[in-house]
Symmetry: C2
Subunit: 522 residues, 2 copies
């Protein structure tokens, strides 16, 4: 089965049957693809020969052995020293032998599941699976009505609602926008409270200090109605850490990653290796450095807890060599992503990439950059597509309209992954005979019995002719997305949650706020 | 070599050195990728198993054997009858035996060249080659200044100038917009005169009656300064014919195709098999019918002149089953194109597809639909990408701004096709060592010696940050494309042409106009 329909539809029964649009389900703002976990049936595109893969692997091993990685974390250094790595005295530099690294990497599973508070939203990471994560971490957000602004809690909630609403979003990653109106010491408490109430999909913890990580793990445990043992027994959430390229892992990221690893929770390791800036100007060099940085952290985590689920994250793109500005959805981004897919498969690790773009508004540039990024994800067989919906400005802004636009393209990619079949019924010789040279296929019984499910049916694309489009006001795609977005937010109803759990979460947040939340001194 | 730099740059020396933009060449409106013939290094994406290919082949053969194709052309029927095919008495239906069809198809070359009046613009069709053709045949055109309007000669010339200007456009196909202000009886004379003066790339003849086809062949011969024997000795131009799906080839298309075949000129055969309308609602059924229609014409042309260069054209997409409107850049379009690539390789024929979209303006929908179409062309290993720049509204409108936008993405695809290398210099171990954990790569000598050529440099994409973009007026992508387009048209200079040839072309057009041009009764 290429498609595995796992769960119920998003709850949202208010106003059932009101809609004039027969394609919409009861109370749903639009007819969307049901929740499912797409599987990518295509062979990957592989720009590297076997020798090329080996050359990058050897380069990464030599970086780890000869140059080393800085681990700005005493505990991490001590673990690696005990494991036989060379920690330079009075320095954070750790050199890792390739034998050790490969032994540790081999302990990581090639595939694992994550089960959120709603078990119907369980996801599989690895293999042919392809998962989409909402936009994560921009400081700004925008919509056509209010323009671009700093993130706040209201916008945060709106974007979480979109993340929950769209079935093609499988994981609710980092904050879809930073709610800057909440004090950083307690932001994680309010944000996770909102997330866990508004969304029943897999959530994530930022690795930004011990308290934040522990609080989020505890809230996810409470939301799932789990004992501590049950929480530890299987992946329930995840974190994503970035290296401080070149060649550095900072303290809070390592601390958070090790805390999750100890409890068997997955860690995505995503170096931020922009070619020409924080990494070599050659793609092979940038992917070599990315690989070294990723494997260094992965080796540490496997030393902490063998078998910890990890993901090899690719974020290699290029910069504009005139301005230093990062670029995304470029030919270089595509090739680096495909090369990263080859490296991930070489190491037997699941792989993460992103739906990234550099555009400043949800116009045509944003669309082609995102489409190029997404087809790079497909052709590299990325298992997790971060920032799959809503990202603009190289990650500095979450756009409501872009979110909706991206979901249209994500649904199309899911539809693209359905199997192509060639049974006699598909070949349709009898239909061709029946229609003959003077007819058309609209009325053929072969068409009539299949048309409802035959093709992808869009919710945003306008396929009408120019005259009809003009009569309806020549509404551009972002403006149509804006209308759809408002309808979704107006009709949104949160997923079911046991009131006792809601109460327990609220009490936890209140207690932790009384205690002062998390320190904000880094 | 993945890239073969064949020719000189587009002529255009006026105002050399004036530009403040160092990236621009002398007198060129923008810095663009040099003329080159890209080769697609990737393995194709193949949704069909070997059995699937065989099932479609067998289906197509059964359509030809059991159902037959209507050839609305007495000469074609007579040729096929003499070749042993079954022509039903008193009907246009011809049934073709698979042995005959496969024998004829095997005579077609898998690769051939076309040499236009400027031999430096010679192109290779087939193999790993990928060529881009301008938008062809819309009745309307649009730009942001004048809006949407019927095509006229001025707009026709503008779009020919864009086709000549952009190095990423390799062939000048059909009229980029129909000049409806020129009488149909003489339109081909004025259009080809303009095309051959404003453009030195491969041109095309519409198969719309004997006179038009013969006139265009004669004008191409004159423009190339060729004897009749020289013209016949190698491909100098081409035609594209569409079947009248389902299962029909009409008179003028067959007549024109046979006239070109007799003189050794290439014919692209492109059935118009919209799944659910003129072809089965199943993709396998639509591609089966497309294959039967294409091979029927190809078998005829090989019977007329064995070895005639032909192209298997794919235009299978789907319709919106609610409105019947054609859709493009859909998941179905992508898969049908990839399946068509498999069939073309099965028959050893070069393959054509298109950069198509259904959007009504050059907004984000147009961009993602075009990007999906283009990546379908890449992943299917299409040799010729029709409508590569400028197409909107399912082919009913040629957009100046979309033309410029598309050229940005075509250039990126050409850049994407450059080889990825993994020499020790590419792996960059010494650069990584030199920069270390606290530096950056901007200043590294490894970067400095490579940065100018390392990455694709856009002419249209805006990668600046939001504040800079806003300061410059928040100019959207279509508006930036509009400015670039005007600059190109203002600075355009036609390619060199011997004044004696220009005079001979003018005299030919004048004579043919005096004679009344071509009949307009079909």
């Amino acid at each position: 089965m290429v498609e595995q329909i796992l769960g119920r539809r998003v709850r949202g029964r208010r106003g059932g049957g009101r809609s004039a649009d027969a394609r919409r389900g009861a109370g749903q703002a639009l007819a969307q693809t049901p929740w499912m976990l797409p599987r990518n049936p295509d062979a990957p595109t592989e720009p590297l020969s076997e020798e090329g893969v080996q050359a990058i692997h050897d380069g990464a091993m030599r970086v780890l052995e000869e140059i080393g990685i800085e681990f700005l974390n005493a505990e991490a250094k001590s673990i690696l020293r005990r494991a036989g790595c060379t920690v330079s005295p009075g320095s954070d530099n750790v050199r890792l032998d390739r034998g050790f690294v490969m032994e540790q990497v081999a302990k990581a599973p090639s595939e694992f599941t994550i089960t959120p508070r709603n078990p119907a939203r369980r996801v599989t990471v690895g293999g042919d699976a392809m998962l989409f994560v909402n936009v994560s971490s921009p400081p700004n957000c925008s919509d056509l009505d209010r323009g671009r602004r700093c993130g706040d809690r209201e916008s945060f909630r709106d974007l979480i609602k979109l993340s929950q609403y769209f079935n093609c979003i499988h994981l609710c990653g980092g904050y879809p926008v930073e709610p800057l109106d909440i004090h950083p010491s307690v932001r994680h408490l309010d944000c996770l409270y909102d997330k866990l109430l508004l969304c029943d999909k897999v959530v994530h913890a930022y690795s930004l200090g011990a308290e934040r990580v522990e609080d989020v793990m505890e809230m996810v445990r409470i939301a799932g109605g789990l004992s501590h043992e049950e929480f530890d027994a299987a992946p329930r959430m995840y974190t994503n850490i970035n290296s401080s390229s070149p060649l550095k892992h900072d303290h809070p990221m390592l601390d958070g990653a090790m805390r999750l690893a100890r409890r068997g929770q997955p860690v995505f390791v995503t170096p931020f290796t922009l070619s020409g800036a924080m990494a070599p100007v050659t793609l092979a060099g940038a992917v070599t450095q990315q690989t070294a940085e990723a494997l260094a952290a992965i080796a540490l985590l496997q030393s902490v807890n063998p078998g910890t689920p990890v993901v090899y994250g690719s974020f290699t793109s290029n910069v504009d060599m005139k301005s230093g500005a990062p670029a995304f959805g470029t030919p270089e981004y595509m090739r680096a992503t495909q090369m990263s897919g080859q490296m991930a498969r070489f190491y037997g690790l699941p792989m993460r990439a992103s739906n990234a773009c550099a555009a400043n508004c949800p116009d045509s540039q944003s669309a082609w950059e995102s489409a190029f990024s997404l087809w790079a994800c497909v052709s590299s067989k990325a298992n997790v597509v971060y920032h799959a919906a809503g990202w603009l400005e190289g990650g500095l802004c979450a756009s409501y309209e872009k979110f909706v636009m991206d979901c249209e393209t994500l649904q199309q990619i899911m539809h693209y992954m359905r199997p192509v079949t060639t049974t006699p019924d598909d070949i349709a010789l009898e239909a061709i005979r029946e229609v003959g040279p003077s007819g058309h296929f609209f009325g053929a019984s072969h068409t009539q019995s299949r048309y409802a499910e035959a093709f992808y049916s869009p919710f945003l694309s306008d396929w009408s002719n120019f005259e009809s489009w003009q009569e309806r006001g020549s509404v551009s795609t972002p403006a149509r997305a804006n209308r759809i977005c408002k309808r979704i937010l107006a009709e949104f109803e949160p997923p079911a949650l046991d009131p006792a759990i809601e109460e327990e979460l609220g009490a936890f947040v209140a207690r932790r706020k009384r205690e002062g939340g998390a320190p904000t001194d880094f």
